[in-house]
């Protein structure tokens, strides 16, 4: 299972790097969205995908699932949700002010 997950994470990272390197504003934002998905999958996979009993409640069980990565990934998801919504607003305002979504035209070397 971990191997399948690793391949999936690799694909997600590839897609997000491709999107991050594109010229379109909205694609770059989608790139940050997918890279955070890839990172969250990595976080949950790196501590092994055990299928034991839920921790704390079941006394007497031998195998427990590690609860910490799930708590971590939940925190990370909430943060990336906030950052993405902020980025979408920022991208929209940038588009409204500059009337373009092409990052090549937002290089800004004219005023140096």
């Amino acid at each position: 299972m971990e191997i399948v997950m690793s391949i999936v994470i690799g694909i997600v990272f590839t897609v997000s790097v491709y999107l991050l390197l594109s010229r379109n504003l909205i694609r770059v934002i989608l790139g940050t969205l997918t890279i955070s998905h890839g990172v969250h999958l990595l976080l949950i996979t790196m501590s092994e995908l055990q299928r034991g009993a839920p921790p704390i409640l079941n006394i007497g069980e031998e195998n427990f699932t590690d609860p910490l990565p799930q708590a971590l990934v939940l925190t990370a998801i909430v943060i990336s949700f906030g950052v993405t919504s902020m980025l979408l607003v920022l991208g929209y305002r940038t588009y409204k002010e500059h009337k373009t979504e092409d990052l090549d035209q937002l290089r800004g070397s004219a005023d140096e």
Partner: protein, 494 residues
Amino acid sequence: MNNIIILPIIIPFIIGAILLIFAKHHKLQRVISGLTSIALLLFTIYLTVLVYMDGIIVLEAGNWSAPFGIVLVADMFATLMLLLTAIIATACLFFAFKTITPKRERFYFYPFYFFLLVGVNGAFLTGDIFNLFVFFEVLLLASYGLIVHGGTKYQLRESFKYVIINVFSSALFVVAIAWLYSVTGTLNMAHLSERIAELEQTGVINTIAMMLFIVFATKGALFPLYFWLPKSYFGPPAAIAALFGGLLTKVGIYATIRVFTLIFYHDAGFTHKIIITVAAGFTMLLGVLGAVSQFDFKRILSYHIISQVGYMVMGLGIFTPLAVAGAIYYIAHHMIVKTALFLFEGAAKRVTGVSDLKQMGGLLKTHPWLAWLFFISAISLAGIPPFSGFFSKFPIILAGFQEGQYVIAGVALLVGLLTLFSMMKIFGYAFWGKQKHTEEQAKIKIGKLLAPIAPLVALTIILGLAAEPMFQYSLEVAEQIMDPQIYIDSVLKE
């Protein structure tokens, strides 16, 4: 009793939330935020003295004991950073009262300001590496709000790039944490230090260390990841630019020093002496060359942040107590002087209306106080005795020669010379020469703007003249952070 170390996080958080309610009453906002920042300053002075006298204070959140729960750790390094943060935050806030337009004040300037402090103080105090990530995100989200605050065309364009680079590096931070957790099975920094000492620092741990270094180098503007800084710090008004220039990159540097003295110190021959020292050398040199090539007051100062961050990391790279103490002294000196210089830029711009050096001139004649206070800060930055710049560069370069790192020490000396050159360029163009602003502009009074900056200038003089006790203090801080066992014992209580 040890609950008090959560106050630097919780006070700005509550006050920031309260200020959200009073967003439209800017008089009330000024009163509340001014009083809070002074209270925070007094409290951090108390905390610094307390930790200096009684040793490290540890708070286990929710009474969960150390490796399982989240801990907050106030050691001497953390409290020193808290104190410096409170000093420059107060100075910038009082400068902002006079310069931020009411329109900007109404759009949640002060809440953002305090939420930024929540993140910064939390990042200094936390003893858990995932918590460090969370506090980094808190401070970054507030900084996104502040850097684009006002929403001018230039700000929107450059902030977008600032946000993207920071989101990307935060993603790498989580990757590094995931690897670290899978290798060691813990995220508590003291526990990590113990586990890695058992595992021996080999290939995979060095990889993780370098990944974290890349993350902190992006936040702290080190070579080759500093390209976002000069343009994005040019956009916001002087009070915000000064706070960012003084504070934000130093959080990245603090995290680098913390991680590479507490956790990844076993393979110093590779990580410190090669990777960090080389990065420091290029950072210093390219930063100062960028500054020399610029002709804008604010851009020159922004490039100098980069070159000076290099000195701090150079102190870490040489990795002797003397060098690390020098780096700590340098952080203190830099945070104070850099903030002062950015605020002087704001005051000069109030008079002339521009920050392009070619359109400025003759400020010495019309505003002598501004000129001479700027002059003191500028030569302090360049490292001329008797100000703090000299006494902070001296131990770092001395340690470089003692350790036989001649190339990096030579680069540091050259960079000092070029810093002096570009500071004198600002002085020569903006303050000497023919008066280029109109007679009406010459009558603008800026005494009220200089009042919050004067204490910072006084501090650089004090740090210079009282170098002996101050340096003794940074040496004690350095000895404490270079012996990880002290930190581990006080957190894990074995």
